[in-house]
């Protein structure tokens, strides 16, 4: 389902936010030369199709007191990762949960880690990792009011994964460097 011109114009007009005025949809329509009703109808279609996840407030977790934001990463047995990922996604406090490719150094024969580390994701080219060994294939974002709270959540995850988990890490964010959300490029490179 490719974007048509109206989709793109509407996304470009609203990706930075809706105007906080009594009639926000009319205000957007005015900028695009269409009626507010046309704007609302198209937004409703976009919600329906999933192109819009939601229309509302995008909070700054830090400012709201959720100062501990840990990206927990897990090295999970490939045979079980999908089953366990579904379960982990259901845990409270987990916001984003994905399976992603591992990045392992190019296998050299006889390396002991080859036995326990299958190659990265399906057909994903492992780029040179600059010496970084990244065995983790399951990512779950954890949010808490303190790191202790996040550690608690990680303990729960670990228990759920059980022996399918061969290692994990938690990467805490220490600064938001940018948070604008999607921005379509104005000029479409053909």
């Amino acid at each position: 389902m490719a974007l048509d011109d109206f989709d793109r114009a509407l996304m470009t007009a609203t990706q930075g936010g809706l105007p906080l005025v009594p009639r926000p949809y009319d205000a957007v329509g005015e900028r695009l030369g269409v009626s507010g009703q046309q704007v609302r109808e198209r937004l409703a279609q976009m919600l329906e199709s999933g192109l819009i996840r939601r229309i509302g407030a995008v909070p700054n977790h830090y400012r709201l007191g959720f100062t501990a934001n840990g990206m927990s990463v897990w090295d999970v047995d490939d045979a079980l990762v999908d089953l366990l990922g579904e379960r982990i996604g259901q845990l409270p406090g987990v916001s984003h949960c994905y399976r992603r490719p591992r990045h392992l150094p190019k296998a050299s024969p006889g390396r002991s880690q080859d036995a326990e580390s299958p190659s990265g994701g399906d057909g994903v080219q492992c780029t040179p990792t600059g010496g970084i060994y990244w065995p983790y294939n399951l990512f779950a974002m954890l949010h808490g009011r303190s790191r202790a709270e996040v550690e608690q959540q990680a303990v729960q995850l670990h228990e759920l994964l059980g022996s399918a988990c061969r290692g994990h890490d938690i990467l805490y964010s220490t600064a938001i460097l940018k948070k604008t959300g999607l921005r379509l490029r104005q000029s479409q490179e053909s």
Partner: protein, 156 residues
């Protein structure tokens, strides 16, 4: 921190702004507030940085696009300069500093895979650093509604 009114308002407006002519008036009515009050609260929350944005969240993958998580190991001495280089690309939707050898994690959002590859190539070119891409292979869950009002179950 949030006032009780702000917490209630954000709980209500996590994702269901009415698609009506006067959505803020309709939400105000639910709480027994005025439209002006709701608009004023939201403006203040944006102003103070409690909210980064108020509007639609796009899932570009539904239109053939993609979001790709990527990471770099940035030398500490160049961190600010590399941040500026990476953030300058409109394709970079979010960027976080994290405690790890891979100390910069960003998300690229593009309409096509080719645009994503071009953005990665450009970042590698401009910074001289390798970008490790972590494309989604499967999504298990997205979108947590954090409990903002006291006493609510976590992650409800």
């Amino acid at each position: 921190m949030l006032s009780p009114d702000d917490a209630r308002l954000l709980e209500r407006l996590h994702g269901d702004l009415p698609l009506t002519e006067r959505p803020f008036a309709d939400v105000a009515f639910e709480f027994g507030w005025t439209e002006d009050y709701v608009i004023g609260r939201l403006s203040a929350l944006l102003e103070s940085g409690m909210l980064t944005r108020f509007g639609p969240l796009f899932q570009i993958e539904r239109a053939g696009g993609l979001f790709v998580l990527a990471a770099m190991a940035v030398p500490e001495a160049r961190y600010a300069a590399v941040t500026a280089q990476v953030n300058a690309l409109p394709e970079v939707a979010h960027n976080y500093r994290r405690d790890h050898a891979l100390n910069m994690w960003f998300v690229l959002g593009t309409e096509t895979p080719a645009q994503c590859a071009a953005a990665i190539a450009r970042i590698e070119d401009e910074t001289g650093l390798s970008v490790l891409a972590f494309p989604k292979e499967r999504e298990f869950f997205v979108e947590l509604k954090l409990p903002l009002t006291i006493g609510e179950a976590h992650g409800a």
